[in-house]
């Protein structure tokens, strides 16, 4: 049996914090560690981990919230598709409130125009297609390697059943490409990465080897429980203070060196690499996934010709710098004033895993 409580014991947490303190007590300069994944960002805030760490260990949030890095033009495209007669948009809940240039999916739904449904699994969207043969179901495919095989799996299901009313608007992205882009950015000095937990369950811990070797940056695959995170930080601090830059795996109970090969084969069958736009970062070559020609029939972007408005970024929003870890949420002039979880301007405030939403909810 595994119990979440075993990974949350406050006595062990205190000891791990003490180890971290001892290790950095004589560090010549502050250490900057980046958590890449939005689920880590939430867990770090929820458990108050920043406040436990010594002042010279700085945790910054990275670009690992898929909703946050999805470009505004994608939301505009989804809105345009939702306005097509007979279309049902199926999406994970997080995408609903993301503001597009002039509307959001939530606004489209509230106006009574768009039929937009929140689903738990891409397979639910396939079931919607089966149950509504006269409607077109467009699933919004957003997410990293954890999620992409589930969307690929849904396309394979739909293909097997010859469903002609299911398609995906894909904005899937891959790790660790943006980590490499950030590490190469001279403005940002990252000493170590808290590498994503469940993305790594698919891509494997070895996926970070080139990053660690090329840029001499420490990488530790880390679980999402509080003791996982503290142990991950302790491993990173140990490496950095010893002048090492290796890949270590704290989350061995679910992540292997090679990851889930079968899941990657499912991705490969349906998707192929492409360049992708990361909101706030720009184009990163080879960091996206598009649906292969063989499955073009299931690609909503190719199947439906809709007019999409020109993308307009909100004025004053600093999501871009926040996603790169260059600014903290409170450095943004809109934070907590114009931009709040109830009325978000930028994606970092919209997504429940966004850095600004986490800071707004748990910040002091």
């Amino acid at each position: 049996m595994i119990h979440a409580a075993d990974f949350r014991d406050p006595t062990v947490a205190r000891q791990l914090v003490q180890r971290i303190r001892d290790r950095v007590a004589n560090a010549p300069r502050p250490l900057t560690l980046m958590e890449v994944c939005g689920t880590h960002t939430m867990a770090i805030h929820q458990h108050g981990i920043r406040s436990l760490l010594p002042e010279n260990v700085r945790l910054v949030s990275g670009p690992g919230c898929p909703v946050c890095v999805t470009p505004i033009g994608y939301v505009d495209h989804a809105v345009a598709l939702s306005r097509q007669t007979g279309t049902i948009i199926a999406t994970f809940g997080d995408m609903m409130r993301v503001p597009g240039s002039s509307s959001s999916l939530l606004e489209e739904k509230a106006r009574g125009g768009g039929d937009i449904r929140i689903v738990y699994s891409p397979l639910d969207a396939v079931a919607l297609a089966q149950n509504n043969p006269q409607r077109q179901i467009v699933f919004l495919g957003v997410g990293f390697e954890t999620t992409t095989p589930t969307v690929a799996g849904a396309i394979l299901h739909a293909s097997k059943q010859s469903l002609d009313n299911f398609s995906v608007l894909s904005a899937h992205k891959t790790m660790p490409a943006p980590m490499e882009a950030l590490t190469a950015d001279p403005e940002l000095q990252v000493d170590g990465y808290i590498c994503p937990a469940h993305v790594s369950a698919i891509i494997g811990a070895d996926a970070y080897l080139p990053l660690a070797e090329k840029y001499q940056v420490a990488c530790v695959v880390t679980g999402f429980e509080p003791l996982d995170i503290l142990q991950g930080v302790e491993m990173l601090v140990r490496q950095v203070t010893a002048g090492e830059a290796r890949v270590e795996n704290q989350y061995r109970r679910f992540v292997t060196a090679d990851g889930n090969r079968k899941a990657r084969q499912i991705i490969d069958e349906v998707f192929e690499p492409c360049d992708a736009i990361w909101r706030g970062i720009g184009v990163i070559p080879g960091s996206g996934l598009r649906i292969r020609d063989t499955f073009a029939f299931f690609d909503a972007a190719r199947r439906f010709d809709v007019a999409v408005e020109d993308a307009r970024e909100p004025v004053g929003c600093r999501c871009g710098d926040i996603l790169k870890g260059k600014l903290a949420p409170r450095d943004c002039p809109l934070f907590g004033t114009t931009c709040t979880p109830e009325s978000p301007v930028g994606a970092c405030m919209v997504s429940s895993e966004g850095t600004c939403a986490a800071e707004h909810k748990y910040g002091t």
Partner: protein, 76 residues
């Protein structure tokens, strides 16, 4: 978005596992995993089992935590 929940497999029908944790039951596709058996713990994400728990590694991590407690936080 990458949140996934560890659950225990209670039943397997074709390629679908009926999984349970703390009284909550969910169906999960086993399309991405081979060799899953009843009683295994799997990680569920968006209706799919994406990884299988390695009980020995889980125990090794817990053992490390116990050692951290035992040595009172001294650097090993």
């Amino acid at each position: 978005m990458c949140l996934a929940v560890p659950m225990q497999v209670r039943k397997i029908e074709d390629e679908v596992a009926i999984c349970e944790i703390d009284g909550v039951t969910r169906e999960a596709s086993l399309m991405m995993l081979d060799d899953v058996a009843v009683d295994d713990f799997v990680l569920i994400h968006a209706g799919f089992a994406i990884a299988k728990l390695d009980p020995a590694e889980a125990e090794a991590t817990l053992q490390l935590f116990r050692e951290v407690l035992d040595d009172g936080g001294e650097i090993a």
